[in-house]
């Protein structure tokens, strides 16, 4: 690995420089409690927040947009024409991604690239630039037990906070090129910085409210598939609104819909994020629903998120805390998992 150091006062310049590599997106404060990755123009670099808790919308949306035209078609000719947008669009430079979200993206990759690549996702992802940043957990975070509190791949650059700046780890050829081109921004990494990094890690690990790892959780969950209380009690509160899955950095479900035009001939085939919390997710022709109740849909998410993701970590959940933070019904996913586990 290659390390350089960026002093705090150079952050702005660094962000401005990043604009040369594509459309820059970074976290900004959008309301009292919320942050979101938004497009950053030259005037907005000051608004970029470096110590946010979590963003409203997950980073996957930059590579797997909420709504995306897959094809335009001509129904008379029965022909479909690939939408080239994903291939021709500007690369996305995503600044300020937390470790858990980087793991989240790699989980997305495992389904969308590793095994028979989805061309749209891959095109966007391969040209995209990911710049990670270190963070400290709040009470919603449990990335540590998900083995997602630290990453050593999946980013181009990673900024780790030290006292007067950031130590940047370079994680890819693209990362090297960015550093090479902006060499004058950096200083050497010192022993003090290295000590700072360790101190930061120590501080961070002490802030987590859970410890160890939850690798065995999926077995516990399976054993509690018929838990007498928790599923019913919690799903009763659920609004079925899908906020948990939409904000989740690793949810991948999508629906495909054809939108015809008024000419009776052409139109678009679109994919839209779906959610297993919606009724139609498990519905098949003839009206049979494999997840007919709110409880069964509710449970499905817990099972999916805790299933084994052998390609990346140990589970599809990275412990970012979004599904609790953004649940209007105040359902505490982390707490529920703890309850099922019977301990932290």
């Amino acid at each position: 690995m290659r390390y350089v150091k960026l002093k705090k006062e150079k952050i702005k310049e660094f962000l401005l420089a990043l604009q040369d590599y594509g459309e820059l997106y970074a976290p900004i404060k959008v309301s009292e409690k919320y942050f979101d990755f938004r497009k950053i123009t030259n005037e907005q670099v000051d608004e970029v927040v470096l110590d946010y808790n979590r963003t409203l919308r997950p980073p996957r949306r930059f590579f797997f947009p909420e709504k995306e035209v897959l094809f335009t078609f001509n129904s008379k000719k029965v022909e479909m024409y690939e939408n080239k947008e994903a291939f021709t669009s500007e690369p996305v430079v995503l600044f300020g991604v937390h470790a858990c979200d980087i793991v989240g993206l790699r989980i997305m990759d495992s389904r969308f690239i590793d095994d028979q690549p989805d061309p749209y996702y891959r095109a966007r992802r391969e040209k995209g630039i990911i710049i990670g940043i270190s963070c400290l957990p709040d009470e919603y975070c449990f990335c540590n037990v998900r083995r997602a509190e630290f990453v050593d791949s999946g980013f181009d650059l990673f900024l780790s906070e030290v006292e007067d700046g950031y130590v940047i780890r370079v994680g890819s050829v693209k990362g090297h090129k960015i550093i090479d081109a902006t060499e004058n921004l950096y200083v050497e990494v010192t022993k003090k910085d290295s000590d700072d990094l360790t101190a930061f890690d120590v501080k961070k690990s002490k802030m987590f409210t859970v410890s160890g790892n939850w690798d065995s959780l999926r077995y516990t969950l399976e054993l509690n598939d018929e838990h007498p209380v928790i599923w019913m009690r919690e799903s009763e509160k659920c609004l079925g609104c899908g906020n948990c899955t939409i904000t989740c950095p690793t949810c991948r479900c999508y629906d495909v819909k054809d939108y015809p035009n008024l000419d009776g001939e052409t139109g678009v085939r679109v994919r839209i994020w779906d959610s297993c919390q919606f009724r139609e997710h498990g519905l098949v022709a003839g009206g049979h629903n494999f997840r007919p109740t709110k409880e069964s849909r509710f449970k499905n998410r817990y099972m999916c998120k805790n299933a084994y993701c052998k390609e990346v970590t140990t589970a599809y959940c990275v412990g970012c805390g979004r599904c609790t933070y953004f649940c209007p019904a105040g359902i505490n996913y982390k707490q529920n998992l703890i309850e099922i586990r019977g301990g932290i």
């Binding site: 690939e82 061309p119 991948r252 997710h281 022709a285």
Partner: protein, 295 residues
Amino acid sequence: MTEELHRRYIPDGQDNLYDTHKCRVLRVYKQTEMDKVFLFRFIDQEVGKNWKFKPGQFVEVSLPGIGEVPISICSSAMRIGFFQLCIRKAGRVTTKIHELKPGDIVGIRGPYGNGFPMEKFFGRNLLLVAAGLGMAPLRSVFLYAIDNRWRFGDITIINSAKYENELLFARELEAMRDIAEAENIQIIQTVTREDSPNRLKGRASEHLDKVMIDPKNSTVALCGPPRMYKSMFEKLVEMNYDPRRIFVTLERRMKCGIGKCGHCNLGNSTSWKYACIDGPVFDYYDIISTPGMLE
């Protein structure tokens, strides 16, 4: 039929895995009031020549502007360049498919799914149990077995439906009766909801005792509505069929057919499966480790 087919989602000559190949409808046969059989041929002969599938696999049929649906291939895997689909009019897309006439074109991608591991069936007796639309994928298995008759022991097929006029491929099976006898193939057709002079009465499971093949050394393939599986499975085990040699095919909602869209997930956190890539054919070990599969 090699294992290599299983993971090859992108047919040759196509770089977008969601793109389709044009296929022309050659013939349309009415099966029942709700079901029609369509015979397709690839317009691009090259594609057609190289296009192979395994019994139990399915394709995504696409009508631009209406949508895409997964449909099991019901014809013999031995015929190159042609395939048949038996389609029930169930909703938006299938209704539109039912309006197709010979000469019309649809988009096809696939084949998808694991299909039946036919080579594991070789040298054994074969029991096929179909209920309703379940006959569609099992017909493919059945035709495969007939085409490769020497590789199998005795064969029994049970075809069931609610009413006589809903029995799929009933006439075809009927027409085969003579040959079947000569070939040691037993055909049982039964209806559950009415008395019919030509058919047996009752559910498929009620006629298992009539099956002539020896449970030992047999492979069973089940396909039908999920609710039939559980009792069927128990009964078969009771009758000494080897549970490890019972295969079922499952239906789930599917949008992509290739393990991306997430709709067909089933199971719980230790056995999280996608019906489209891990299935739709599942075996005993899947069944015991994946709750809800037989529901």
